[in-house]
Amino acid sequence: MTPEVVGFWVLAITLVGSALGVVLTKNLFHSVLWLALGLISTAGVFLLLDAEFLAAVQVLLYAGGVITVVVFAIVVTEKLVGEKISHTSKRLAGGTIVAAGIFGMIASLIQRAGLDQARPEMVGDATAAMGMSLLTKFVLPFELLGVLLLAGLIAASYFARPEE
């Protein structure tokens, strides 16, 4: 058992457990907290895949930013006087069948694809390589991402503002 195998199994169990917590728990706040645990474990999976920068981004943007915004959206909308934030589920059987069917299809594809190539050795710094291709090959998508974020900020703040 190498450290990578142990780390993978620990992270996989945490990740699947917290994902089940997100979709099965009855309290919306608990769902968000399970999602935070799942996102941080995903950062751990990125570390196993030698993507340190993406792990940092995952913690900074997802666990730090997205979770904050979701929590704020919940406390801003839910007016709960003495009442637990319940969020119930419905169509459990149908959901299980669809999810299991999709998983079966993907798993059989993975089985048949013959993905047994060896993991290549790490060459150089992945973060610097990402910066190079981000600002040369992908410079147009990068600028468009700025425009998208600007449009998102303006639209989101326009929607959420209270009417004067």
Partner: protein, 99 residues
């Protein structure tokens, strides 16, 4: 671990997220399911990128994470707007388009 282990993990996460999207009644709960599915996609991208020895998949995953940020911001703003107009966050009760 082989590539297929990472892909299977990501497929499990994707299916759980899909289950959440189908079964949740609260709009914020549905959004959390979508987050899980996007997260699974990011694991897939990074795993393929690492096993092919190129950084393009990681750049793609970085873009995906940032677009998710914009998506969450707008989605939750819409939830707040709907809540203000309809006093509900249950997706089934938002049926204005039904004639």
């Amino acid at each position: 671990m082989p590539l297929s282990a990472y892909l299977t993990l990501s497929a499990i996460l994707f299916s759980i997220g899909l289950f959440g999207v189908i079964t949740r009644r609260n709009t914020v709960g549905i959004l959390l399911g979508v987050e899980l599915m996007l997260n699974a996609v990011n694991i897939n991208l990074v795993a393929f990128s690492r096993f092919h020895g190129t950084e393009v998949g990681m750049v793609f995953s970085l873009f995906a994470i940032c677009i998710t940020v914009a998506e969450v911001a707008i989605g939750l703003s819409l939830v707040i707007l709907l809540f203000r107009m309809r006093r509900t966050a249950i997706a089934d009760q938002i049926d204005w388009l039904k004639g």
